[in-house]
């Protein structure tokens, strides 16, 4: 029963979604549309679970005085401040929640991602050795796209921006399409395996 009920729910929910697509009439339409809303609501529970787990991990770190435990109160306070301000004052413009988001969360997010520029560049410098002609091709393609994106590229040779546009719109599109079509096939087969209960690893088992 421990496995059968969750598998039955998975099968029913999956089939309702598929039938809603292929037979867009009642009762499947009503069931499918409602299930889509329910899916959003229940999936939001995963965010709450993640936040609760984050708090659990940091309280445990403080309690057991694990490595870097002194920073855990910063995470807890940051979380509680955003939560309380959002719940009490709302999220509209000019409210404390929005103020902290605009002045702290957004700058920290942008800075974190911009830090990656340094690390990706340094990793590329070490990894992109032109060891064979395909690696050289990858390196040249990346270099031309980067050069075509900045004014100095056009100053070196006015055709470089055009080469960049061609690289992005033809070989890049071809490669991305191949990946997307392959991934879509993978999604279809994995979804079917999940709906029919062949794939059960999400239940915590090994098969």
């Amino acid at each position: 029963m421990r496995l059968i009920i969750p598998l039955a729910i998975t099968f029913t929910a999956g089939m309702i979604m598929i039938l809603n697509f292929f037979v867009p009439h009642q009762p499947f339409r009503f069931l499918g549309e409602n299930l889509q809303e329910w899916y959003l609501i229940v999936a939001s529970g995963a965010i709450f679970l993640g936040a609760m787990n984050l708090m659990h991990v940091h309280f445990r770190k403080i309690k057991l005085k694990l490595k870097n435990w002194k920073y855990s109160p910063v995470t807890i306070i940051g979380f509680l401040v955003m939560l309380v301000l959002g719940l009490i004052y709302g999220v509209t413009e000019g409210r404390p929640f929005n103020y902290l988001f605009m002045n702290m969360v957004a700058p920290m997010g942008a800075t974190m991602f911009s830090l990656l520029a340094f690390f990706v560049a340094s990793a590329a410098f070490r990894a992109f050795r032109a060891s064979n002609w395909r690696a050289t091709l990858l390196l040249t393609s990346a270099f031309l796209v980067m050069l075509g994106q900045v004014p100095i590229g056009a100053m070196i040779w006015d055709k470089i921006p055009l080469i960049k546009v061609w690289l992005m719109s033809i070989p890049n599109t071809a490669g991305q399409r191949a990946v997307m079509i392959g991934a879509a096939m993978g999604v279809v087969s994995t979804s079917l395996r999940m709906i029919f209960g062949v794939e059960r690893s999400w239940l915590g088992g090994t098969d």
Partner: protein, 217 residues
């Protein structure tokens, strides 16, 4: 208190703390990193409440025109089951919620991915075959050959030998160019964020220092 200047200083301080990691891992970076994790988690919880739970669940269960739709209690119970994961004795209940999410997610993604990522891309490739200049014919040829050979490269049910092997070789070549182009584009996107932060520090934050010290204009 000037809230605008305080906001700029808060942004500048966390930016400097995070950039200090470029020297090496240090307490300032760790402080900002932990703060970012906590505040982001808080932001996403409120985001879900404001954008999913209130409009999709609460307003459907308790509509503004009155009444109570009892059927909407069910997703609420599923959310509670999901949170039961934190209580070891009843953690098994979360499997019911997980089953619901996985089933509807799989059913929804199966049809939408097949439509947008498979059929639409195949259609786009077929209709990309152009006529006109030699260059546009060459480009569309590269596109079609690239997609087909790329797919052959990802087809592992047949050994990559003979004609299949040659086509797979063309595929990996196209994929290398594509990955290189994507990589270059990603680096430039990160660099534009870096430029944005530098502009903020130089144009927004730096001018506030003489103002605070009461010197200059």
């Amino acid at each position: 208190m000037n809230w605008e200047i305080l906001g700029i200083w808060l942004g500048a301080l966390v930016t400097l703390c995070l950039y200090s990691f470029l020297y090496r891992d240090n307490p300032f970076y760790k402080f900002a990193e932990h703060l970012f994790v906590g505040m982001s988690a808080g932001y996403w919880v409120i985001y879900q409440i404001e954008n999913v739970l209130i409009p999709n669940w609460w307003q459907s269960m308790v509509p503004s025109e009155g009444g109570f739709n009892w059927i909407w209690i069910i997703p609420g119970i599923f959310v509670l089951f999901m949170l039961a994961r934190m209580v070891p004795k009843i953690a098994g209940l979360s499997r019911l919620s997980l089953g619901m999410i996985i089933g509807s997610g799989a059913g929804l993604n199966m049809v939408s991915f097949f439509q947008t990522n498979a059929m639409a891309q195949v259609k786009g490739t077929i209709f990309s075959v152009a006529s006109g200049s030699v260059w546009s014919i060459f480009s569309s040829l590269v596109l079609v050959v690239g997609v087909v050979s790329g797919l052959i490269y990802f087809f592992f049910s047949k050994a990559h030998t003979g004609v299949v092997g040659k086509a797979a070789n063309v595929g990996i070549t196209i994929l290398m160019v594509a990955f290189g182009a994507s990589f270059g584009y990603t680096i430039m996107a990160r660099l534009s964020l870096l430029i944005g932060r530098c502009q903020f520090m130089l144009e927004d934050w730096l001018p506030t220092i003489p103002r605070l010290l009461g010197i200059g204009g």
